[in-house]
Amino acid sequence: MNIVVCIKQTFDSEARIQLTSEGSIDESLVKFVINPFDEYAVEEALLLKEGAGGGEVTLISADRRDPSVALRQGLAMGADRAVWLDCNKIPFVDHHVYAQALAGWLRGRSFDLVLCGKMAIDDGASELPSRLAGVLNIPQVTTVSQLRIENGRMLAKRDIEGGFEMVEVELPCLVSAQKGLNIPRYPSLRKIMEAKRKTVERIEIDRSGISLSEINPFVEIEEYMLPSARTAGRILEGDHQTIVAGLLRMLHEERRIF
């Protein structure tokens, strides 16, 4: 089983978000981590490789900044190698460009499965996996919370609102990982130290099989804004009977919720 896992390095979920004086996101204050959904993808790749008794798990991340923190986390979990597609030459990269860059690198390589996370927690888009499957022209199953492979076919459980679908799909295909797929392993200290010594291969985006002059972003950012803070809440005082009666009346009469 040769499996490629697409990794995005994201902000730590506790991170406070502030804008710089130029109006961009201030990255100097935040800690970077592997996108939580990508940990499920890495874990699943390792389980499948172990189950198949061989193969290779390759991590790939396209990024303008060095995603080594995320890639090394995947290496410490047990991935065989990690590649950084350096997109620094492009001032702004959208999901289309990332998908083209990843596909450029993937084309001509042999793989049985591409795994992604279902969503990057920073952009919250859930956009890259389907775009990438579209460029690669392979079938996709997104938001998968369970899967089984037998005789070159996969049966995948795809989460939808209020339930799930069962999808039968041929390999090679692309799958995006949802919570529930597995429980990602915690790498041991020894593995973390070993991963620190492994190299992350860096490849310039224009050496990954795509031509920069042909690939332009489809979208553009106008501005970042910070949301207005929620107005401070109100603690209802009194005995519970009175509080609840008052609350239900307010929800009903003032807010007209029910």
Binding site: G163, E165, E168, F218, L247
Partner: protein, 320 residues
Amino acid sequence: MSILVFAEHRGGILRKAAKEALSKGRTLAEQMGLKVAALIIGSDMGGLPEQISKYGVDDVYVADDQSLAIYQTESYAANLQLVIKEMNPKVVMMANSAISRDMAPLVAERIGAGLVPDCVEITLKGEKLSYTRPVFAGKALVRMRVNTPIEFVTLRPNAFPAVESPTLPRVKQIKAAVPDSGAKTVCVDLPEGQGPELTEADVIVSGGRGLGDADGFALVRELAGLLDAAVGASRSAVDAGWAGHRMQVGQTGNVVSPKLYIALGISGAIQHIAGMGTSKCIVAVNKDPEANILKVADYGIVGDLYEVVPIMIKKLKGNG
């Protein structure tokens, strides 16, 4: 030129989020001097054009085939692409959902279009549309524009109102595309399909670790039932096995913005707030007066949920 709205339905019933997309499609089309068309894909959709006609569309494209009875990535994408090719819309709009997250980026990539997913506001600036969407789990917003001839956008459920404005649309049957595909959805199971669906619900009652055990969810469900609400959960409650992972609200769960969110025994961690912070009204019951959830709640009750919730239930039943 027109705006094309993919109108999602379940078993011939238009989804609430689709009504919101149709309504927004119509108001934008009016502002821009465009027509609005809806596309429905499925089988046995007899009553749908009439449901859609309430939202003011000019045309309804119908792709009807037995093989489209349940969502299939490749054939749904092919039919959307077919209609796009035929009518060359300026904007392709749909609700942000499990289907659109699967299909919209795929079709957008194939036809060379930009996409703004999970949009909460769209404004017209001169000739250009400007799209606002939350990023960093709602800790920031970004305003974007799309620079391709066709623009894709998916709308966050409950962020736009559904407003009726009836018309008599033309119904156009298309010859449904049924392409070969390496993937086939063999069945759909909707075990949680009884009450309102979490991302669309007007009211959500969520339980956290403060419930103490799995049985505590019976109380959450009882209150939810009385309010016609969906049931949500914090990650701690999901990880403890008290609730299914599809019920999780937060940064790594569902993002919801109901009219009313009731948090029971939830501390209000930043990752939880990320999933419900845009609710119009938040009520929290927590026994710790310092709990973060009480800082974001419109109405906070400091107390034991096992004392407070039974009082709510009793009063809602009209005997207290």
